[in-house]
Symmetry: C2
Subunit: 127 residues, 2 copies
């Protein structure tokens, strides 16, 4: 038994200028940019969403630009196994998360629980 | 003067089997599928999100699968012009909306206001 839910969306940008990319998306969508707070943030800029909203991040990547979604969970392995049963495939483990591919071809990530109301509001799975 | 904001995300699926694609994303993300209600829905299936949440849709497309975002607005032309000033490009007008491309390469759409709290909560632009 574990929990999961949609955590948010990552705007993957193939760029050497993350600041410009983050500025565009901040202004286009009307969300402020959170200040970068630690060295690990150098490839990410977070948009300022409310605590009860989805995460929104702008990420500097090497692959072609796209948008991907993250699923957050309290049990990475159980959630990856559940998604495999639905037809998704494991692509690559990165640090604590898994990159997966949907049967319809989109890449997405399975990450540790991120948002403060996860325990209260995530979906509960018996398998 | 006009308003806009992020409306939601469309999961574009290059598939001949929209029902299977919609079922995967419904189960993966833990949102129920809304019943299809009219003939125009044959290329779309909506996920059941709360009225104060972003729209989430699964769409059957001919191009490679991806995820794209929609920006909703009360003035399509003014919003497209605003986004052009930020560096985005017009790609194609489709029915009432515009497909645009961000400076970072992602395609996205500018659509008419969709969510019930648009007037109260959208961003207000002076240009």
């Amino acid at each position: 038994m574990h929990k999961s839910r949609l955590a948010g969306f990552i705007i993957d940008c193939q760029t050497d200028d993350l600041d410009s990319a983050a500025r565009f998306w901040s202004q286009a969508l009307g969300y402020a940019l959170k200040p970068a707070t630690n060295p690990e943030d150098r490839l990410y800029r977070l948009l300022e969403t409310r605590p009860d909203e989805l995460h929104m991040e702008v990420q500097q990547v090497g692959h072609p630009s796209r948008v991907h979604l993250d699923i957050e969970t309290d049990d990475i392995e159980a959630e990856v196994a559940r998604l495999e049963q639905l037809g998704a495939k494991r692509i690559e483990r990165v640090h604590t998360w898994w990159v997966m591919e949907a049967p319809t071809g989109q890449r997405f990530c399975v990450v540790r629980a991120q948002r403060p109301d996860f325990a209260a509001n995530a979906n509960f799975w018996n398998r």
